[in-house]
């Protein structure tokens, strides 16, 4: 089965450090989402790309977060500087808009100390 690959699976970093999370969407998928999951807030949509163009990043703190798709095989989510409140599991998902079968990766568990 085709998979969405996220790296790293786990990341522990100190407050103030830059964090980069990577996502390899399924080949051919034209839609990519980034979500953050916490116990308190549940699943929050951070960014949404269609054909590599950002369509909606209104859920993302603009001062420290950035999301990009440098090419069709890679999506990145960066946090600079990181803060303890950024600790969460970050999920990437990809799919085709016409059938809406969105596939999620296994997530990156981020801990900021």
């Amino acid at each position: 089965d085709a998979r969405v690959t996220q790296t790293p699976r786990h990341k522990v970093t100190e407050m103030g450090q830059e964090v980069t999370m990577r996502c390899q969407p399924i080949l051919g998928h034209n839609t990519v989402f980034w979500y953050r999951q916490t116990m308190m807030q549940g699943l929050e949509l951070l960014a949404y790309f269609r054909n590599r163009a950002p369509l909606d990043d209104s859920g993302m703190p603009k001062d420290r977060f950035s999301a990009e798709m440098p090419d069709a095989t890679l999506a990145t989510l960066k946090i600079q500087p990181s803060e303890p409140r950024d600790s969460a599991v970050y999920f990437c998902a990809s799919g085709l808009v016409h059938d809406r079968n969105y596939t999620f990766g296994s997530g990156t568990r981020l801990t900021v100390v």
Partner: protein, 113 residues
């Protein structure tokens, strides 16, 4: 903006009993509805979806959901649950041209012997 409400944060049930997980959506225009399942320490997996056509949709593992436009609901049901169905279940909706996927707060299904 569209949203979904999952009324129950947790549903305990005995094995082989029936279960219903409730989901209501807010949008009054055409929507597409989904149920995802998340097992511990894993990503989300698509369980079933309603895009158009028959209002009753089924998954391969015995779950079904019915799209009810008049009640703006998309409840998930299973006539007989197994221990292995213990997981968190998320209802989600997309709407409009951008088709971004918005999740409810989730319902934890706890199946006990």
């Amino acid at each position: 903006a569209q949203s979904v409400t999952q009324l129950d944060s947790q549903v305990p049930v005995f094995e082989e009993a029936p279960v219903e997980l409730r989901c209501n959506y807010s949008s009054s225009v055409s929507v597409y509805l989904f149920w995802y399942v998340q097992y511990p320490n894993q990503g989300l997996q698509l369980l079933l979806k309603y895009l158009s056509g028959s209002t009753l949709v089924e998954s391969i593992n015995g779950f079904e959901a019915e799209f009810n436009k008049s009640q703006t609901s998309f409840h998930l049901r299973k006539p007989s649950v197994h221990i292995s169905d213990t997981a968190e279940y998320f209802c989600a909706v997309t709407q409009g041209g951008f088709q971004k996927l918005v999740f409810g707060t989730g319902t934890r299904l706890l199946v006990s012997p």
